[in-house]
């Protein structure tokens, strides 16, 4: 039972990841694909944050610093830092993607990938 409780988060994250891959692979609309990409990156972020947890730990903020040997009482700050970076990268990529979608829509007047590819071949 404990094994399941301890790993349930990983399972949910796996499902989230696969949902993102589904959207990326099977949706035809470019905007939906971009959203699926965000779902994938959110699942990765959740995975890292999950690694930073400790049972009963406090937020890693303490004026005056922590005494030696008490590290277990505070959450691991490193994954949070890394994921701040990953979030920002995701936002930046989404911004560039939206700019490209804007250009594509202005020229092809559609966001369905199959129709755009047809338009490109002509």
């Amino acid at each position: 039972m404990d094994a399941i409780a301890g790993h349930l988060n990983y399972w949910l994250i796996a499902v989230l990841f696969v949902v993102g891959v589904y959207g990326l692979a099977f949706q035809d609309n470019l905007l939906k694909k971009l959203m699926a990409l965000n779902v994938i990156s959110v699942s990765t972020i959740a995975f890292f944050l999950n690694l930073g947890q400790k049972v009963g730990a406090k937020a890693p903020i303490l004026p005056g610093g922590v005494k030696g040997g008490e590290a277990a009482a505070y959450a691991n700050p490193l994954p949070h830092t890394l994921m701040l970076t990953a979030i920002v990268v995701g936002v930046a990529t989404t911004g560039v993607g939206l700019a490209m979608i804007y250009r594509i829509f202005k020229h092809y007047h559609t966001l369905e990938e199959s129709e755009i590819l047809k338009g490109m071949r002509e």
Partner: protein, 141 residues
């Protein structure tokens, strides 16, 4: 986008809210050492306040950032970060080793000051870039 005059209610609300946004952004930036917060969050709050004014008072916002000014903010903000790195190199340390900067006696305090400097740069960069992206995605001017 709706080109009609803003309604009085929206206009007044925005005028009331904006000062608090700005103060909150500065608080988030400066207090990043002691509580959740920091440059990215402060930059987003600042960008949101600019974007809010543009949304409500379109097409002629009375306050805000033009696209060119936003580009300058983005460039200089990021350059401020990298420039602090270059300064630490000029003072003989490794890149981003804030401890070597001649700002005080206690190394931890100097490092905290250096951290504050780069956070200000990050704030400017994030604000500039988000205003630019919003501005461009909104459409032609």
């Amino acid at each position: 986008m709706n080109k009609s005059r803003p309604t009085t209610i929206l206009d007044t609300c925005v005028r009331l809210i904006i000062p608090f946004y700005l103060v909150y952004a500065i608080y988030v930036l400066v207090h990043g050492h002691y509580s959740p917060g920091g440059g990215f969050q402060a930059g987003v709050v600042l960008a949101v306040s600019v974007i809010l004014v543009q949304l409500v008072q379109d097409p002629n916002p009375r306050w805000g950032l033009g696209r060119d000014a936003a580009v300058v903010f983005a460039c200089l903000g990021t350059f401020m970060y990298a420039g602090i790195g270059l300064l630490t190199m000029a003072w003989g340390g490794n890149m981003l080793d804030y401890g070597v900067l001649p700002l005080g006696e206690v190394e931890a305090e100097v490092r905290a000051l250096g951290t504050l400097g780069i956070e200000i740069g990050v704030t400017m960069a994030v604000m500039g870039v988000f205003v630019v992206i919003f501005n461009l995605l909104r459409g032609e001017e």
